[in-house]
Each structure stands twice: as structure tokens, then as C-alpha cells.
């Protein structure tokens, strides 16, 4: 903690987190840590069937339990101004808010018990003893009519390609076809979805974790029929989100409705097992990859077809095919998606949506092709290096992937890899395998705003409704603000995580820092311009008449650009003008012209070592080296943590996560953190992330690309390829577990 946030030199410094002391002392208050006076506890009851309707709830039994205040069910749930099934836009996902007794998936909320204590509410929910009229559910991938969706992911085309795919295969000397499956996965942020809601007439105060304060505010305003200004959402800290808190979910809204019903503040915390239903997941996929190549490895055809599933009542389609549109050059490319419906909760964006599942299939397929061609897998990727974006032929705004490949390979020792599998053992007789994969994720931007105020006491206030779910917004936005305004970090007050502040965009899609950071930067420049305006027009200022030359801000002073000895402090400028402060708003958004001209993506290369027990099939990842290029790095310490986190999610996708659905009942059979496996500390090997330099003049004024999701891509495939290299067994059904190696 020796570094200081120095003006003009904050960006790029590996500062420790500003919110660190609060987080390590327990002082950081997450949503469930708020207890307004008179607060009651609410507990949901959820459906044990996946399709049908609730015919009876024993409300009397629940109400008879000491401490129970009320039971909210379709009988008495507050009426809403708008149907929760109404879709104003494709991302207004349908909600289950007790407006009727229908059941559309297992673990759907069917009632809420409100009580003086958590224990009473929990017992009350158990006493409801629901009876159902059940219909036979269907939850299997491809179990019902398969159709082509209108769009995939966040509105991308279902099909996209270039060249003549048949001709590509016809001219190929070598062809490879394989089908890969990925399992349904649940975000399982460690913090459950929570609401602490308090109504005052038609004004709502809500503590809830959300990755998008303003989107949540808009949705709630519509549902409750009140102006957005009446809604105040506080979300200072999120205990993880990973996409599951991008859009406010049914349980969060039920907490608000419960507070309305009883006229007292209410806290509703989703129970862990209830998070396997109404708060989104990553749908299972079955992906078929067909590759054609010449003898030298040049791809002539790349055909990526995805089959996935969505809910019966809404549309979200995992966009696995996107990655093949951006990553490798091929004479012809075809990417298509198909989907079938099922009686499941609607899938949703989950860390690297589309790319994560797509990447593991594409990287596995390339590895299989490399074997057929007897080529080194890295060489094959370099052979098909995309100099321009494959389908659009747009140049990349920046792309240091070659450097990522080289630096990662060097660090890992890739050149010593034997080409054939089953060649290496360690001193204990475990089989050792090495694999690699390419990482990529789009460098998108949303739109966001920020406000910067320079105050007469020589401090600044920067405000934006951005949200920190662990990526480090509290720290990096302060770094950007400090540099922008020419003040040391300790003179900059940052306010985020509050819906009353200017719309800070979404902490998602790896767009958060790029968007809110750009907004913060723009706001600081606006505030400085206002300050400059005062000074250069004031005869008493040493900056008088400097308008043409312009000024620079440094150390709390404005100085003439052409003569830094002529300067004046922010405080003096404001004092003489008789003002307490100057303020300005700034916007962060992608520049449409450059986004049309250039393809914008972050890239990386991941190298993995695994060890496999030859008798037991037990797999351990022992080494992971990732090299990533993502434009300008605001804080290397925090960025490294983001890469590590992503890489661990890659380990998880490859080897651990699997929500097991019972096809008869439609229920998730392992809805808890003991049986739904996520990596623990002992599953995670020595990790290395190399931050490869990359300068991007087009992506945004600060040159920032997102880093939150790219780590998963590349990693899962690298591990799968390493498992093959260790064992000679190619598992195409993820996660790779020991039974599949022994079987």
C-alpha cells in the first residue's frame, strides 16, 4: 500500500483497491446487510414441478406459525401496472411475479412468506405444502421441435458467413467433423439475489445487487407504474454477478412486492437452491464443427453449427457461433444456430456468453485438425491468423495476438511439447499433457454518463451510476478521474452504485470500464473546460488570454500549455469568480464511425498443463499461462485478477460445472454448492497472466478494452486439449470428468 494515486500518472499503476479496507474488515455493506427499522423477512416458496399449475397452498398453516405476518400468493399479490410477460424490448425478460398460478419451470417462485424473523418465514414457506396439477415437462436439448431463432445473444444474426462453404470443403485435402456438448451452468455468484425494499407512499428505496442500475430502475418503474425518479436503488457492492444480476430478477422484485403488501420494509434473500431456476443460467449446447484444410494447414472451410435450448416462455439463445466469425481466417465460413424449447427458466448472459461455450468447441476442433495434419496446434493457429476480421474484412482497431501467442509460448515452454499424445509422465507416474487455445472477446461499449465537479477547496467529485461487482470500478474509475482532472486520488471523491447518479451503463459484456471510464474522462474534461473558461476570460488571472494556447491541468492547477510557469490553482480561479464549484457532464459511448470501420476485439493465448492419473482418471490442472492483449491497462493488479478469475472459470467449464437435470421431473438434481461443482482453491494451479502491450487509438479515447470475460475463452479449450495430449482420449462432452476418461 505504498503507492499513491498520483495525478497524471494514475492510469497504469497497480494500485490496491480503494474499497479494500472496507472489504477486509467487514465494513462493506452488501444489500442483505441493510436493516431498515421495522424490517420483516421474506422467504420464497418455489415450485417442485417444472410444468403445470399450483392448485393449493396451505396458507392457513403458514399464517398460524408464530411470527408469520402474511403470505403473498396469486390470491393477494399486489397488482402490477404492466404484465411481467410484456416485452417492451428483447431484453425485458419475462418474470414470474405471482400474477397467476402457472408453473413454467422447476424452482419458480410460487409464494412468499413474510414474517418477523427469518426462521419463522422459512418455516412458514415449508408449511405451505403446495399441491399441483402437473404436466409432463420436457427439458432435453433437441427434445422438442428445433427451429431457427430470429437472433442470437444480444441481437446478433442467427446465421452469418462468407465464401462458398461447399467449395471450401471440396478443395480441402483434410476434413474434420466433430460434435461437442457443453452442460447447463448456473452463475452462482456467492451473494444470492437479494432485496431490502422500503416503500414510502409511491416512493421506493431498494438495496439490491444489480449490474445495471438504470435498466433496473426503468423496469421497476414500468412494473409498478411509478416515475423512475421515485425509485432509489443502492448497489454499492455486489457479491458477484457474472450476468445473473444484469437484469433485475423475479426474486428481487418479489421482495419489493412483499414490502408493498405488508406496508413495512422487507428483506428477501434467495436461498442457494432457489438460484437454480429464476435467476438465469447458461444453456446446454451441442455444437458441430466441420473444418476443411489444405495440407499446409490453410483453412478452406469452417462450419460451426450450434444447437441450444431456451425456455418455453421466452427467448434467449446462446450465441456460440459468434467466435467463429471473428477469430480465424478461412476461405469460407458458415455459422448457424438452432434452438429447441424446454420447461426451464430462461437462460441468460453468463460470463462470456456465447464465446465461452463456442470457444471450447472451436479450440478443441482445431486441435483435432492439427493432429490430422500432423501440425503443431500453435502453428495451425498462426497459419490461419486473421489479418482482418474474417467475414467483414474490416481491419482490427488493434490486435496483438501474435505477441500473445509468442510470449505465452515462451513462458510456458511450448516448443518442448511432443506432437503425439501420451508422451510425458511426471515423477509420480501421472500422465502429463499440454494444450493451448486462443482467447478472444469483443471490445464493446454501451452508453454511459458521468458528472464531474471541481470544488473551491481544491477537491473534485466524480459521480456515475456505475457498479462494482468485483472488477474494480471503485478503484479504476477513481484512477481515470484523478488523471483526467489533474488531482491526486485522495482529492477525488468517487460516488458510484446509486441509481440517483447519472446512468453509468452496464457492468457487463466487458464494457463497464470502457463505458463508464470514458464517461468519467469526458466529464472531467468538461469540468476543466468550464474552469479554463473562467480563467482565460478573467484579466486578473495569469491565464488571461490563454484561450488559443489552451491549458493543462496538473496538481490542482491549470497552466498555460505553451508556458507552464503561468498557472493558477483551481481554488483561486473559483474563488475569484465567486463560485463554489464548476461541474460538467460527460458521455461515454462508442464512436459509430470508427466502430463501422474497425473490428474491435481483445485477444489472448492460453497454455495449459494437466496431469491425469492413469488408473483413476483423476484430472488436475497444474499450470496455466495466459497472455492477453486488451488495449490500455488501467490497473495491472486488478486486470490480472480479472484474467485469473476468467481462467478459473475456464477450468470450471472444462472440468467442473454441470447442472444435472432429471428429465422426468425437469428438476435440477444438484442445486447446491457441494454437488454443483465449482473450483475450490486446491483445484486451481499456479496461474500466470502476461499483460501484452497493445495500443488502440480507435476503440475509445482512453484506448480501453474489457478484460472480464476473455479469460474463460481459450482456457477451457486449452485444458481439453491438454487432457487429450496426456491421455490420447478426446472427450467432447463437457465437463470432462474421470468417468469419461475411463469409460
Amino acid at each position: 500500500m505504498t503507492e499513491r494515486m498520483r495525478h497524471g500518472a494514475s492510469i497504469g499503476q497497480p494500485l490496491t483497491r480503494r474499497d479494500g479496507p472496507a472489504k477486509v474488515t467487514g465494513a462493506a455493506r452488501y444489500s442483505a446487510d441493510f436493516h431498515p427499522g421495522g424490517m420483516l423477512h421474506a422467504v420464497m416458496a418455489v415450485s417442485a414441478i417444472a410444468r403445470g399449475r399450483v392448485t393449493h397452498l396451505d396458507v392457513a398453516a403458514a399464517k398460524a406459525h408464530p411470527g408469520v405476518v402474511d403470505v403473498m400468493s396469486p390470491e393477494n399479490a399486489p397488482a402490477l401496472a404492466k404484465s411481467p410477460d410484456e416485452k417492451d424490448n428483447p431484453f425485458a425478460f419475462r418474470l414470474d411475479l405471482l400474477q397467476n398460478g402457472n408453473v413454467r419451470y422447476a424452482n419458480q417462485p410460487i409464494a412468499v412468506v413474510i414474517a418477523e424473523t427469518l426462521e419463522a418465514a422459512t418455516e412458514g414457506a415449508a408449511l405451505l405444502n403446495p399441491r399441483y396439477e402437473a404436466e409432463t415437462p420436457s427439458v432435453e436439448l433437441g427434445g422438442e421441435t428445433i427451429f431457427t431463432p430470429d437472433s442470437v445473444g444480444a441481437g446478433s444474426p442467427t446465421q452469418e458467413g462468407s465464401g462458398d462453404i461447399e467449395a471450401g470443403f471440396a478443395s480441402a485435402g483434410t476434413r474434420m467433423e466433430a460434435t461437442y456438448e457443453t452442460a447447463a451452468q448456473y452463475h452462482n455468484a456467492l451473494e444470492p439475489h437479494t432485496s431490502v425494499a422500503q416503500w414510502d407512499g409511491d416512493r421506493l428505496t431498494l438495496h439490491t445487487p444489480t449490474q445495471a442500475l438504470w435498466i433496473a430502475k426503468g423496469r421497476l418503474a414500468g412494473l409498478f407504474g411509478i416515475p423512475q425518479e421515485n425509485i432509489h436503488i443502492v448497489s454499492h457492492y455486489l457479491g458477484g454477478g457474472f450476468g445473473s444480476k444484469g437484469f433485475i430478477s423475479s426474486p428481487q422484485i418479489l421482495g419489493i412486492m412483499a414490502a408493498k403488501l405488508v406496508g413495512r420494509p422487507v428483506k428477501l434473500v434467495t436461498r442457494r437452491e432457489q438460484m437454480f431456476g429464476s435467476v438465469g443460467h447458461r444453456a446446454a449446447t451441442r455444437q458441430t464443427l466441420k473444418l476443411g484444410a489444405k495440407a499446409d494447414g490453410t483453412l478452406t472451410a469452417l462450419d460451426h453449427h450450434t444447437l441450444t435450448l431456451t425456455s418455453r416462455h421466452d427467448d434467449f439463445v446462446e450465441a456460440c457461433g459468434l467466435i467463429a466469425r471473428h477469430l480465424y481466417a478461412s476461405e469460407a465460413i458458415a455459422t448457424t444456430h438452432a434452438v429447441s424449447r424446454a420447461d426451464i427458466g430462461t437462460p441468460i448472459f453468463m460470463r462470456a456468453p456465447g464465446e465461452a461455450s463456442g470457444s471450447v468447441a472451436v479450440e478443441s476442433a482445431l486441435d483435432e485438425l492439427a493432429l490430422q495434419l500432423d501440425m503443431d496446434p500453435l502453428e495451425l493457429r498462426l497459419k490461419n491468423y486473421a489479418e482482418v476480421e474474417p467475414i467483414t474484412h474490416r481491419p482490427f482497431s488493434s490486435k496483438a495476438l501474435r505477441e500473445c501467442y509468442a510470449q505465452g509460448a515462451e513462458r510456458f515452454g511450448w516448443s518442448k511439447r511432443p506432437r503425439q499424445p501420451r508422451q510425458m509422465r511426471d515423477e509420480n507416474g501421472l500422465r502429463v499433457g499440454w494444450g493451448m487455445g486462443t482467447a478472444t472477446y469483443p471490445a464493446g461499449m454501451m452508453q454511459g454518463e458521468a458528472r464531474a465537479t471541481i470544488r473551491a477547496d481544491g477537491t473534485a467529485l466524480v459521480e456515475t451510476a456505475a457498479q462494482d461487482m468485483g472488477q474494480g470500478a471503485w478503484t479504476v474509475l477513481a484512477q481515470i478521474a484523478a488523471d483526467g482532472i489533474g488531482l491526486d486520488g485522495d482529492r477525488v471523491e468517487l460516488r458510484i452504485g446509486d441509481s440517483d447518479l447519472p446512468n453509468g451503463g452496464l457492468a457487463g459484456g466487458s464494457t463497464g470500464t470502457a463505458t463508464s471510464g470514458s464517461a468519467v474522462h469526458a466529464a472531467t474534461q468538461g469540468a476543466l473546460a468550464a474552469l479554463e473558461d473562467l480563467a482565460v476570460n478573467d484579466r486578473a488571472s495569469p491565464l488571461y488570454g490563454a484561450g488559443n494556447a489552451g491549458t493543462v491541468a496538473e496538481g490542482g492547477r491549470l497552466a498555460r500549455r505553451d508556458d507552464p510557469t503561468r498557472s493558477e490553482s483551481f481554488s483561486d480561479i473559483l474563488a475569484r469568480a465567486g463560485k463554489d464549484s464548476v461541474e460538467a457532464k460527460g458521455t461515454g459511448a462508442g464512436d459509430p464511425a470508427s466502430r463501422k470501420t474497425y473490428a474491435m476485439h481483445a485477444h489472448g493465448a492460453v497454455y495449459a498443463e494437466v496431469k491425469v492419473d492413469p488408473d483413476l482418471g483423476q484430472i488436475r490442472v497444474t499450470r496455466l499461462v495466459g497472455a492477453f492483449a486488451a488495449g490500455r491497462i488501467v490497473n495491472p493488479r486488478l486486470v490480472r485478477s480479472q484474467y485469473y478469475g476468467g481462467m478459473i472459470w475456464g477450468v470450471s467449464l472444462a472440468l467442473h460445472e454441470h447442472a444435472v437435470l432429471d428429465t422426468r421431473s425437469g428438476r435440477v438434481m444438484n442445486p447446491n454448492l457441494a454437488e454443483y461443482h465449482v473450483p475450490v482453491n486446491a483445484d486451481v494451479p499456479s496461474l500466470e497472466a502476461i499483460l501484452v502491450e497493445e495500443h488502440d487509438p480507435h476503440v475509445n479515447p482512453l484506448g480501453i478494452k474489457g478484460v472480464g470475460e476473455i479469460g474463460i475463452t481459450g482456457t477451457a479449450g486449452a485444458i481439453a486439449n491438454a487432457v487429450w495430449h496426456a491421455t490420447g482420449t478426446r472427450v467432447r462432452d463437457f465437463p470432462i470428468t474421470l468417468d469419461k476418461l475411463l469409460g
Binding site: 474488515t25 467487514g26 426462521e119 457492492y237 457474472f242 454448492l673 482453491n681 486446491a682
Partner: protein, 177 residues
């Protein structure tokens, strides 16, 4: 319906302070007693069934999952929570190491990780062996994947606390009794 008149009186020494309360329900877990009745919300609830470690506290110096402990069965016990670790503004060496090594992201698992690390170091089980630290910390899930920083932090704190000329900070030495 309202609660019966009688309840379950208990006294806990929490972070060195004696706290008495009457529980209206015997089912109150130690975690909910701390979080909902004593306003000590630093300990977190990630699963409520002993599977994530977010609720880890020290009970008479030993790390436990507070969500699996019934408050009434620990009448008279001494509890250390994340709130009781620092000495005023001076962070406990484990807390300081988590900040220095970025042993967190969202921070939700962090109180549990830190209490678990304090317990692990005190148990003397893992020493300076990274593999054994990883094993010993594996009851604490971190969905953000901050494991690399957590392991580094525990090793660094272990080294700092075992350096010959450095005494353990915070309240650690008090509850060791």
C-alpha cells in the same frame, strides 16, 4: 401469529464484548444471530448449509461455519468475527495481506476467507507450503476466482506473523487463550 412469551436467553462474547440476547426461536443459527440480531453483518451467508465458507468465524479460537451452528448450543462461547480482527485502524496481518495481494474481487467471500486463513495459520497446519495452504483454504469458495491472490496473501501473512521480530497484530493473541 405472535411469538410465545418465553425465549432462549444466551450470552456470547463477541469480539471481546459480552452480548446477551433472548432468541425467540431455538432454530436461530449463530450466523443469523450475528447478522440479524447483533448487526455484525461482516460474516456472509452464501449457502446456509456449510458448503461455501462465507460465514466462517472463530468459535473459541477454532474456525467454524456459523451457518451450521445453532446459537443456543453455544451459550457462553467466545466468537471472533471479521469485525473483531483489526486493532482500530491497524489491519490484522491477514487483512493487510489480502489488500496487498488482491485476494478478492467482489469481496463477498472475503470475511470468511480471512477468518479461515487466521484459523489455518493458528492451526499451524499449512506452514509456508502453497499446496497445503490451497488444501487448507478449500472450504472457502470464491466464485470470482481470487484463489491466486488468496494463496499468496495467506503465505505472506504466515511469513509476517512468524517473523521472529513481529508480534501478531489485532486481537489474535487475546482469543488464543
Amino acid at each position: 401469529m405472535s411469538f410465545p412469551e418465553t425465549g432462549f436467553p444466551i450470552t456470547l462474547t463477541v469480539n471481546g464484548v459480552s452480548r446477551s440476547l433472548v432468541l425467540e426461536d431455538a432454530r436461530v443459527t449463530l450466523l443469523d444471530a450475528l447478522r440479524e440480531r447483533l448487526d455484525l453483518t461482516g460474516s456472509k451467508k452464501g449457502c446456509d448449509r456449510g458448503q461455501c465458507g462465507a460465514c466462517t468465524v472463530l468459535l473459541d479460537g477454532v474456525r467454524i461455519n456459523a451457518c451450521l451452528a445453532l446459537a443456543v448450543s453455544h451459550d457462553g462461547a467466545s466468537i471472533t468475527t471479521i469485525e473483531g480482527l483489526a486493532d482500530g485502524d491497524v489491519l490484522h496481518p491477514v487483512q493487510a495481506a489480502f489488500v496487498d495481494h488482491d485476494g478478492y474481487q467482489c469481496g463477498f467471500c472475503t470475511p470468511g476467507q480471512i477468518m479461515s486463513a487466521v484459523g489455518l495459520i493458528r492451526e499451524g497446519q499449512a506452514g509456508d507450503d502453497p499446496e497445503r495452504v490451497r488444501e487448507g483454504m478449500s472450504g472457502n469458495l470464491c466464485r470470482c476466482g481470487a484463489y491466486a491472490g488468496i494463496t499468496e496473501a495467506v503465505l505472506a501473512a504466515h511469513a509476517a506473523m512468524n517473523a521472529p521480530d513481529v508480534l501478531p497484530g489485532g486481537n489474535l493473541s487475546e482469543d488464543a487463550a
